[in-house]
């Protein structure tokens, strides 16, 4: 698979189809990988692919530093590929401006990452080239996909409040979560708007709640469950639980799953006349 990847990358660079390959390279230890940006055909051997390629390289699509390198080909797993669908839908990138090197994947992380436990995109749903044997994507029932939420949803109101207060209390407002998120691409995050200052920027419990709730809400109908926010959080706040809760509500209420179909209208930019309103008096 790695050979196929390197060969394809070399071909793309030699033919000037793309200017740069965003891929995974070796890290300081075998269990670590790091992003590499290959601009010369002779460097393609730096590309690797293994089960430690956990993170989502599409976050580099939003960064000026990597954008400066020119048109990219990007190595994506099925989950990461969903990001590109959202980025296209949200006018952040044009389909023809990115070359998608989809890799088939049986799960990453050691132990297996949470996001892989109910994976239904072993083969990416969008790609220009597919690297690796095609894996038949499974259909996973709704409940199973959101099973992770069960134990938290079962908590009482007070238990929930206490749990999250405890979690949010750890927040140091480092914004690693939004920096890594490939879909947090605003030039100015709402937390940085100071006239007026809707969200208290200090690491105070009040601002921590509004920040974390708002961050999650701003990903409603958008988050593709790459779990990068949670992975990078230095305080180990289970941020993806919030994202996942919103994904569940979006799917339940609007029958919408972010990043799955490029033709679907963005869930939070449309409506149906018969949307759920059982909570409205």
């Amino acid at each position: 698979m790695i050979e196929a990847l390197r060969k394809k990358a070399e071909e793309l660079l030699r033919s000037n189809t793309v200017d740069v390959i965003y891929g995974y390279g070796e890290g300081s230890t075998p269990e670590r990988t790091r992003p590499v940006f290959i601009t010369k055909p002779e460097d393609v051997n730096k590309l690797i692919w293994n089960k430690y390629c956990v993170y989502n390289l599409t976050t580099y699509l939003k960064r000026q530093e990597s954008r400066k390198l020119g048109k990219p080909a990007i190595v994506v797993k099925g989950c990461d590929a969903k990001t590109i669908v959202v980025l296209i839908k949200e006018s952040q990138i044009k389909r023809e401006d990115v070359y998608i090197l989809g890799v088939t994947c049986n799960g990453v992380g050691e132990p297996l990452a949470t996001k892989c436990k109910a994976c239904d995109v072993n083969t990416p749903r969008i790609y220009d080239d597919l690297i690796g044997e095609k894996i038949e994507n499974k259909e996973i029932p709704f409940d199973e996909r959101y099973a992770e939420l069960d134990e938290y949803e079962k908590l009482s109101e007070k238990e929930k409040w206490d749990f999250w207060q405890k979690q949010f209390a750890k927040c140091i407002k480092c914004y690693a979560c939004s920096s890594i998120c490939p879909l947090c691409f605003c030039d100015r995050c709402i937390v940085d708007k100071n006239q007026p200052q809707w969200i208290d920027p200090s690491a105070h419990p009040r601002g921590n709640l509004s920040w974390n709730v708002t961050r999650a809400y701003h990903l409603a109908g958008r988050c593709i469950n790459c779990e990068e926010c949670q992975r990078v959080c230095p305080a180990d706040i289970p941020l993806n639980l919030l994202n996942k809760k919103l994904a569940k509500e979006t799917e339940k209420n609007f029958n919408y799953r972010s990043g799955y179909n490029i033709d679907d209208e963005l869930a939070m930019a449309t409506y149906k006349e018969d949307d759920n309103q059982d909570f409205i008096k």
């Binding site: 949200e90 007026p196 809707w198 006349e273």
Partner: protein, 681 residues
Amino acid sequence: MGKKIGVFVCHCGTNISATVDVEKVAEETKKNNPGVSYTTTYKYMCSDPGQKLLRDKIKEEGLTGVVIAACSPKMHEHTFRNAAIKSGLNPYHVEISNIREQCSWVHPDKPVGTEKSTDLVRMMTEKVRKDKSLKPIKVHVTKRALIIGGGIAGIQAALDIADGGHEVIMVEREASIGGHMAQLSETFPTLDCSQCIMTPKMVEAAQHDNITMHTWSEIESITGYLGNFDVKIRKKARSVDLDLCTGCSSCWQVCPCKKIKSEFDMGLANRTAIYIPFPQAIPSKPVIDRENCILFKDARKKNIKPNDSKVCRKCIDACPIAPVKAIDYNQEDEIIDVKVGAIIVATGFRELEDGLYGEYGGGKYEDVITGMQFERLASASGPTDGKIKRPSDGKEPEIVVFIQCVGSRDPSKGCSYCSKTCCMYTAKHTMLYKHKVHHGHAFVFYIDIRCAGKGYEEFSQRAIEEEGATYLRGRVSRVYKKGDKLIVLGADTLTGSVVEIEADMVVLASAMKAQDDAEQFAQKLSIQYDKDKFFSEMHPKLKPVESSSAGIFLAGTCQGPKDIPETVAQAGAAASKVLALLSSDELEREPVVARVDRQLPPVFSTCIGCFYCQKVCPYSAIESEDIKARDGSVIKTVARVNEGLCQGCGLCAATCRSKSIELDGFNDEQIYAEINAVEFN
């Protein structure tokens, strides 16, 4: 530098002061709100002396912001803002604190009302602090109106506007204007002949100096906004040059394709391939039906230009116009551009397709006809010259069963609404029938008889009492054929019996439906439509002829079922709205519009161009704009609000994650200040 805010607390006689201690509200406000430099109370702020007080104090005290604590802003916001203008204060620095409707009138306990009033005043004071001067938006007005649809609604509106001295462009997709009304026989409740009242209006419209008519034409696109619409009209290829043709009839007399069902006669008669829809058509010039003309069929088959086909050239040969014939087989669609300031949509309805009622034999038995077909049978200019003959064998029907509410009030067939006209036209049909077939008998199955209208109830009673129609309250379950009779099985719920009638003909009072393409058309115009695809008025009571888009008005049945007088009244109302609009050179609009922020380089705007705002905007008011560097390269693509289209709902602002788009008059700082001032004790 802070604002100098003046707070004026109104007693409203005793309406406020009975349950709110207005002096205390003024006092507390002054004491606790730095920046409030002047407070007073007054018996009636809205009175002349009250307004004078406001005007004087703005000047004397140098106020830069004003809160009036009084009745609902819906009552006098306008009054006080105008007063402020007279003192040179931008009116958008004036806010109303609603301490009457939402406080003194609903909370009888004085300390409670006083405390709440003080809170409400504080919230508004904080908002005023953040108020910005806004300038009314001026919009240039193109003094020309577009009328879409040439039925009675369109014609009436066109005439009214044209008589008012403004240019009118009328677009009709059929080959002639006239619409459904031209097809009708006689009209209720007076039984005057429809064509006798319609045709003169058609002629008047056609000859009016201010009216330009485009028949056989459709709207290709509409862009722009109130006062400034850009319209593309597709003039479909008629194959006949309207300037050259004299309507002499030579061509259609020789046309060999004579077996085409006439749309005008509802399929009860035939027409030729080159034809005028009906004798009184306007323009009285033919069109070639390219689908059915054998020359065009041949050209399509051989993939050649129509004029190169040699199959049949009878019409062009018969055309007496020389040297250039009036017929042009190769004519192509033409797109023309017009600019208009206002639009009236009068696109009418269609009758429910008869095939939908298989149980009534609709679309299956020739002698089961629709209401519109009966109109043609009864019309003096119709296929039977006004004699009631059944379509199958031309026999005079001796028993006719009329079934009401066919489609209407039947959610299972997709129309839950009442078509409103059928009770009346069925009563009319029974009369016309009895007038023409004296010994005949009319039966009517109905659910309810709904004849609200001047002279309507009397009319339907006449049908029953004087003209001898038998009305049976109940539904028909089935119509089937037995010999040359139609057996109608129904219920008479008043006697609780099952009724079986051997009829010669059955007439279905079919529902009025929205045009098939109503939905796409509404989207083309960015106007709203209801669940039945009728176009929605802006407000069901107070803005019944305005569509949801400013500058676009509705007339006639495109908005919902209605009869002729109602249609004419609505068309007149729409026309008067258009006339008012076209009477000024410039329009002023409330400047409550959204705005995308602009920043210094290198950011330019915090907008990142995700265009959620564009997707949620109900008015297509969000455009995209490229911010370019000096060399012309695009630095950033961001959203931009078209002020002319924006209606100020703020949907975009609440959708924007980075809050890069805000609504003037309700901007972020204003709302924040208001919420922040909710200081509960």
